[in-house]
Amino acid sequence: MSQQLRLWLLLPVLLLAALAGLWLGALDLSTVGRGAELILTDFRLPRVLVALLAGAGLGLAGALIQGVVRNPLASPDLLGVTAGAGLAATALLVFWPALPFGWLIPGAMAGGWLAMLLLLWLARDRQLNPARLILIGIALNAWLAALTDWLLVSHPTGIDAALVWLTGSLWGRSWPQLWWLLPWLLLLLPLTLALALRLDLLALGDEAAEGLGAAVIRSRRLALLLAVMLAAVSVAVCGTLSFVGLVAPHLARLLVGAAHRRLLPASAMLGALLVLVADIAGRSLAPPLELPAGILTALIGAPYFLFLLTRYRGW
């Protein structure tokens, strides 16, 4: 099967998963009767759409970051973006529990951006050298995660909501959250895809890319910026869904190859698929219990990642 065909085949798979998301849940809709329409239009449909968009954002962010730093371990989680958003959200939830939920999204996005600014500032002298970016990212990530833990330990009464958020969950996500995600993704998706060719050049190494006319540092900074914005808005809406940004690009590379013009859309679709499937499983496997999607992305993601590593000799 050609790589192009596989890319297109992802679309019907995604559509099927979305339909499953509307069909499955804690209740069998055919037995509900009067409230079925509300459940479909106000709970399931927006939640499916939020899962698709947030997953796409995370998958794309992962592919962009891996392209920039040319390292298979890179992901938004590793560069501290997720941890920055997590720290901001935890601080808001712990210090202002009565704050309307709508404030959490801009707060968490700001946290992710601040973490990124800190990363760029710390890496400023070295032309965004990939290895250095990763090392600084790991340190930053650990520091931000430690601050988050400290908040959680020192404020044990206010942490229930924060813990759910830090696991990553689509519980209660609906139209207001979708309206947050949609404009950002409409803006960022085309920009990202337009960057595909330059990312392919970067993959050849800095000197070769420079020789072929790519502005290496500028491309790298732009890709990083786009990745952070995508990851920050997705994480802000759904919490820190782990492994999506790491697994989706690897899976995409296995399916459609390493050329970014196919890799980027495939990563987006696979990220969307992963989050959607995790959420559907979380809310329909053991009703009335709703498990946070973040637990399931890790549960599916981690072993699958190990499997991929055995298949894969590219790195």
Partner: protein, 296 residues
Amino acid sequence: MFPRLLYGLLLTMIVGAAQARQIADAGEGLTIEGQPQRVVVLEYSFLDAVVLAGLSPVGIADDNNPARILPALRERLADYRSVGLRSQPSLELIASLQPDLIIADLNRHQAVYPALQQIAPTLLLPSRGIEYSTVLDELLTIGQALGREAQLQARLAEHERIMDRYRETLARDESLLFAVAGAGGMTVHGPKAFASGVMRRLGLRTATPEQAEQAYIKVSFEQFAYLNPDWLLLGDYQAAQGGAEFFLRWQRHPLWSHLSAVDKRQLRRVSPYSWSLARGLLGAEQIAADLQEQLR
């Protein structure tokens, strides 16, 4: 004659509609009329007030584990539907129960507050870490929301009499400490915690420093030894699995046998579900009854 009756009826309907109650809560406030019949409760601590008002909720976020509900409450419940975890109750299930009042927790359910309001009038109240006095205030707030305030006020007066009676037999000059053991270690209930407030109400002294800001305080063995209560009331969430692992280690510590509670053989096991989760009148009365039995 007949039209006058009709007018009278109309008048009472209009007056009735005008009597929609405004109740201040931790959210945007609740506007409700009449007496709600189908109530959904999303935290154990609100269950008490609803049951004492003579209602049985149609839905409870009970973590799908009814054993966590205070037995005195559980036996008074009619059939209800579990709506799942307290941290993530299922909105679909709540909506399908067609409630006319939802009682939600400020901390856990802020994220779905607008969605809950869309399903039914929603009362948003703090729950985790609330003090005993707040529990009593919330009881009356829930009474107002249910349109059954008088009933709860009467029950509250009875509660005060019950607690006074316990107080006479319990008061003593030894320090007490309630702590819960779990996978994460030892958590001491500070002066602001519900159980500590109940113990003070009963004329007892708690071993925690009065200035502590937090309701729940994680402590190490050293900090615990420093608190050194005369009585330790331990609620072990892992009792069914053979006891919390760290606590078994603590018992082998050289200083363990020098602790006052150990030395005086005044370590008692109590149910963490009754003492910590069941923040309500019946929960407080259960604590008092447990103390009377244990402090003998």
